[in-house]
C-alpha cells in the first residue's frame, strides 16, 4: 500500500518539475494612470446618469468602445494612443453631448498596478504544495498500519 503512495508521489513530482507554469485562472489588478474620466451633465447641472456612451479612437469612424455613464454621469476609459478621442453621450430624449478629448503622449502613462489582485508564482507554488501535502498526508494517515 505504501508502495503506490510512493508511485503517486513520483508521478506528482515529475508533473511538478515538468512545467512549472501555474494556474490559468483569471486575474485582475487595479490600475493607476493613463485613465481619462469625463463627467457628463445637462446645463441644469443634473448628471447624464446611466446614459449610453460611444467612444471613437483618433481618426476612426468605427466605435472603439461602447459603455454607459454611472449614476453620477461619469465615464472613464484608458486611451491606448495619442490624438483626438471623440466621446458621445446619448442621454434620453435626444439629448446628449459630444466631446473632443485631446489626449497627449504624456497622458498615455503605462497603467501600473496599484492594488494586489493576485498571487505571485511563488505564493501559488506554496499554496499548491500545501494542498498536495494535505492530500498526501490524508493518504499516509489512512494507509498507516493499525497498531494493536
Amino acid at each position: 500500500m505504501v508502495c503506490w503512495v510512493l508511485v503517486g508521489l513520483c508521478v506528482l513530482f515529475s508533473l511538478l518539475s515538468a512545467a512549472p507554469v501555474l494556474a490559468h485562472g483569471t486575474e485582475w489588478e487595479l490600475l493607476d494612470g493613463g485613465v481619462v474620466g469625463v463627467r457628463a451633465t445637462f446645463d441644469t447641472g443634473q448628471p447624464m446618469a446611466n446614459a449610453p456612451v460611444l467612444i471613437f479612437a483618433p481618426g476612426e469612424s468605427q466605435v472603439q468602445l461602447t459603455t454607459t455613464t454611472d449614476s453620477r454621469g461619469v465615464v472613464c476609459f484608458a486611451p491606448d494612443r495619442a490624438g483626438v478621442w471623440v466621446l458621445q453621450v446619448r442621454a434620453e430624449g435626444g439629448h446628449g453631448l459630444r466631446a473632443n478629448l485631446e489626449v497627449g503622449e504624456s497622458m498615455l502613462a503605462a497603467p501600473t498596478a496599484k492594488g494586489a489582485g493576485g498571487f505571485s508564482t511563488w505564493q501559488k507554488l506554496l499554496m499548491a504544495v500545501c494542498v498536495i501535502w494535505g492530500f498526501t498526508a490524508t493518504a499516509l494517515f489512512f494507509s498507516r498500519r493499525r497498531e494493536r
Partner: protein, 213 residues
C-alpha cells in the same frame, strides 16, 4: 474545462449540484476503507495536473487526468475529482464554488465512462500490459472529448452562444486528448508493471482487508 463563476444561469448551477450530489452519494457507497489513500493520491495528482497548462495556438489547455483517475479509482473517482476541484476553486479561482457542482459533473462523467469502458475492454488484452495500457490511453483520450462536449453542452444549456470560441475550444481539446492519452498510456503501463492491483477497473482481485499493508 473549468467553468468559472458568473458564466452559468441558476437552473444549470442547481442541476449541476443535484447531479453531482447523486454521483457523490454513489461514490461514497462504493468506497472501501482501504481505498482512501489511493483516492487522496489521485486527488492530488488531479489537483496539480490542472494547474499546469500548455499553450495551443491562442488558447491554453491543461492536463486533467480525468480518464486516468477514473480507470485507477472506479466510482470513487468522483470524490477525488470533487476534492481536487474544490481546492482549485478556493485556492486559485480556477473554476468556482457556484459552479463546483457543474464542474464535478463535467469531470466525473468522463471519468466514470472511462472506468466502464476500460473494465469492459481491458480484460480483452489479457496479460499483455502494453495493450492494456494502450486501451487505457485510448479510453482517456476519448474521455477528454466527452468532457469538452459536456462543457459545450452546459454552456449551451445556459444560453451561451458559442461558435468561434467553441470551435477553437474543441481543436485545443483534440490536442489535449492526444496528450492525455499518451500520459495515461505511460502511467498505466508503469502501474501494471509495478503494482497491477492498484488499478480498479478490469482487475478486481478480492483483496483480503489490509493484509498487504
Amino acid at each position: 474545462m473549468h467553468i468559472s463563476e458568473g458564466v452559468l444561469n441558476s437552473p444549470v448551477i442547481i442541476g449541476g449540484y443535484a447531479v453531482s450530489a447523486g454521483l457523490t452519494a454513489l461514490a461514497l457507497k462504493r468506497v472501501r476503507p482501504g481505498e482512501i489513500p489511493k483516492i487522496a493520491v489521485m486527488g492530488a495528482a488531479f489537483f496539480v495536473s490542472s494547474l499546469l497548462h500548455f499553450k495551443v495556438g491562442i488558447t491554453s489547455v491543461h492536463l486533467t487526468l480525468t480518464g486516468l483517475v477514473g480507470i485507477v479509482l472506479g466510482t470513487p473517482a468522483v470524490l477525488a475529482l470533487l476534492a481536487g476541484l474544490f481546492f482549485q476553486a478556493v485556492m486559485f479561482q480556477h473554476g468556482g464554488l457556484s459552479t463546483l457542482g457543474v464542474n464535478t459533473v463535467i469531470f466525473a462523467v468522463p471519468a466514470l465512462l472511462a472506468y466502464l469502458a476500460y473494465s469492459g475492454l481491458g480484460p480483452l488484452a489479457g496479460k499483455r500490459h502494453s495493450l492494456r495500457a494502450l486501451i487505457a490511453g485510448g479510453v482517456s483520450a476519448l474521455a477528454v472529448l466527452v468532457g469538452a462536449a459536456l462543457v459545450l453542452l452546459v454552456l449551451r444549456l445556459s444560453g451561451e452562444e458559442l461558435t468561434g470560441i467553441g470551435f477553437l475550444f474543441s481543436v485545443a481539446h483534440g490536442v489535449l486528448s492526444l496528450l492525455e492519452g499518451a500520459v495515461t498510456f505511460i502511467v498505466v503501463r508503469q502501474i501494471l508493471k509495478v503494482k497491477p492491483e492498484m488499478i480498479t477497473a478490469g482487475f478486481m482481485p478480492r483483496r483480503q482487508g489490509r493484509s498487504r499493508g
